[in-house]
Amino acid sequence: MKPYLLSVKNLSIDFDTSDGIIRVVDGVEFNLNAGECIGIVGESGSGKSMTSLALLRLIPGPHGKISTGSIELDGKDINQIPVQEMRSIRGKEIAMVFQEPMSSLNPVMTIGDQIEEALLLHETLEKTARKQRVIEILRLVGIPNPTERLGSYPHEFSGGMRQRVMIAMALSCNPKILVADEPTTALDVTIQAQVLDLLKKLRKEFNTAIILISHDFGVISDIADRVFVMYCGRIVETATIDTIFSSPAHPYTEGLLKSIPSKNNLGRLYQIPGQVPSPSERGKGCDFFDRCTKQMTKCSQSKPHLETINGTHAVACFAINNQA
């Protein structure tokens, strides 16, 4: 079998707070093949953004740290390598697109210089060749008149255009993996459609693998092949896009999908009872226990692990796994 491009095993992230150590990501595992697109979906505080930051070792220190697990890129654990070596991977092998196109660009640097920066660090190109490459990428992401826009500053661009600049920057060194954390959340829906279309095109043309983080099932189903549902720092279900919508197994996934208004869901919306427990309220049992419709005694005693129920469909729930 071909080895995975990226393989995350038993990843846990801890934060040291005044209330003690809080585990924000707990035992996350997933694999990614070249050219594949996976989606990570979850609500605020589910740990999806922290997971994405961990892939680039950008967990905000000194309080946060990866406490267990490995992140293997082409078979090498990038969690163990020296900082210097990590710098050569960031931007070159794994690149990131952040949510906020307004605040993630440097306001006092022209966009041409900002994109060129990555090329300066990672590639050995002549000055003119570098400039050519920048123009080429800007054209690729659909910035009109790229040659003239090189000298423009971020404030001269609209939100959608800035997001394109961010994507251009991430793509400048042909990364194998693009991590996109809520890339369209700050954008209007017609602009969102443009950006999603661009991501699909890049995947097709350059075989870039994409990890898409989003709270929006619509965005995920538009572009991803497989989806991982996170709740309270753990993956509770994973399946292909078709399976997750046709037969969600975990009570949380099921509830979440039922609470989205849609054409066939016009009456009173389903409400998942209760609220997401804060990290200090989480006990030894399943984090979804108090809100679950299928709770059993066992669920309050230990946390269920992901178990395959059918092909690539895995779910972390005692009620489901006992039947299977």
Binding site: S44, S158, F217, G218, D222, L257, I260, P261, K263, Q271
Partner: protein, 333 residues
């Protein structure tokens, strides 16, 4: 349903004057944020105002509460124009019209507890006599929106986003208004919390015969909650009609693009999607003729010269376009 409109907006416009930051430079520019819009809302009806950022939907909401002064036009509440009313007259109107804000974090004062926050409109309108009365009314309101009256002495920071939005709703319904402007009330919330707030808004509408102006960019929520939908683009309403018409056979090419652009969970990407080219033009330089012509797939010469007006294209559905036809293929599925 009562046939007389509760709220009527006639030729409402709002321009903002932009001055150059260099005080000696005298090139003043105006931004037409809202340009001659008309709509009406009946008792117990929800009109949704949809559109992208900068289209003027929030400004319209603020004008209805006179949080911004309209440049021209009339706003009628139960047949009476209050677009030029003074602040004393406005106090009476504001008892009937309330607002729910988008940001559940920024719209509640962090220094006041829940009792003070919810009792404030009651005190301002002289609806409570003493502290016991205040507590009684506030605890009834808290129960109504699904919070425990024991939480009265807590501060906003102790609540989650969804709970804060419930507090904002309790404050809005405290004075028993007839009409509520809800400006993106669920946009800042997680999906599962969003469902709770949408349900709450619908229950309150049923029980208190409320009318809503529901401002949102989320078409899924709009389809769920609205009776009528008005689509705004660069300060103008370019299409308006009953919800089912707007979602199932949108007429204006912009509405069609908007409906097709929103990804629907569970459908694969083979869906025919109209992808518009470019961005919304700056409101400082609105294109001549039809404001949408710079991005419109159907644009022709006439669109540059003559501005299309709203015409009835289907009973009670209006659209402003020279060419378009209803396009059921691209509709929101």
């Amino acid at each position: 349903m009562n046939s007389r409109p509760l709220i009527e907006v006639q030729d409402l416009s709002k321009s903002f004057l932009l001055r150059s930051p260099l005080s000696w430079v005298s090139n003043k520019k105006t931004i037409k944020a809202v340009n001659n819009i008309n709509f009406s809302i009946k008792t117990k009806e929800t009109l949704a105002l949809v559109g992208e950022s900068g289209c003027g939907k929030s400004t319209t909401g603020k004008l209805l509460l006179r949080l911004d002064q309209p440049t021209s036009g009339r706003i009628l509440f139960e047949g009476k124009d209050f677009a030029r009313s003074n602040s004393k007259e406005m106090l009476g109107i504001r008892k009937k019209i309330q607002i729910i804000f988008q940001d559940p974090y920024g719209s509640l004062s962090p220094r006041r507890n829940i009792l003070q926050i919810i009792a404030e409109p009651l005190i301002a309108h002289g609806l409570v006599s003493n502290l016991t009365d205040q507590k009684e009314k506030v605890s009834a309101l808290l129960k109504k929106v699904g919070l425990s009256p024991d939480h009265m002495s807590r501060y906003p920071k102790e609540f989650s986003g969804g709970q804060r939005q419930r507090i904002g709703i309790a404050r809005a319904i405290a004075v028993e208004p007839a009409f509520i402007v809800a400006d993106e009330p669920v946009s800042a919330l997680d999906v599962s919390v969003q469902a709770q707030i949408v349900n709450l808004l619908q229950e309150l509408q049923e029980e208190k015969e409320l009318s809503y102006l529901f401002i949102s960019h989320d078409l899924r929520v709009v389809r769920h909650i609205a009776h009528r939908v008005a689509v705004m683009y660069l300060g103008e309403i370019i299409e308006e009609g009953p919800k089912d018409q707007i979602f199932n056979s949108p007429y204006h090419p912009y509405t069609q693009a908007l409906m097709s652009a929103a990804p629907e969970p569970g459908t694969t990407s083979d869906k025919k999607r109209i992808i518009l080219k470019g961005d919304v033009p700056s409101p400082m330089s609105i294109p001549s003729g039809c404001p949408f012509r710079t991005r419109c797939p159907l644009a022709q010469n006439i669109c540059e010269i003559e501005k299309p007006i709203l015409k009835e294209v289907f009973p009670t559905q209006y659209a402003a376009c020279h060419f378009s036809k209803p396009n059921p293929i691209t509709s929101f599925n």
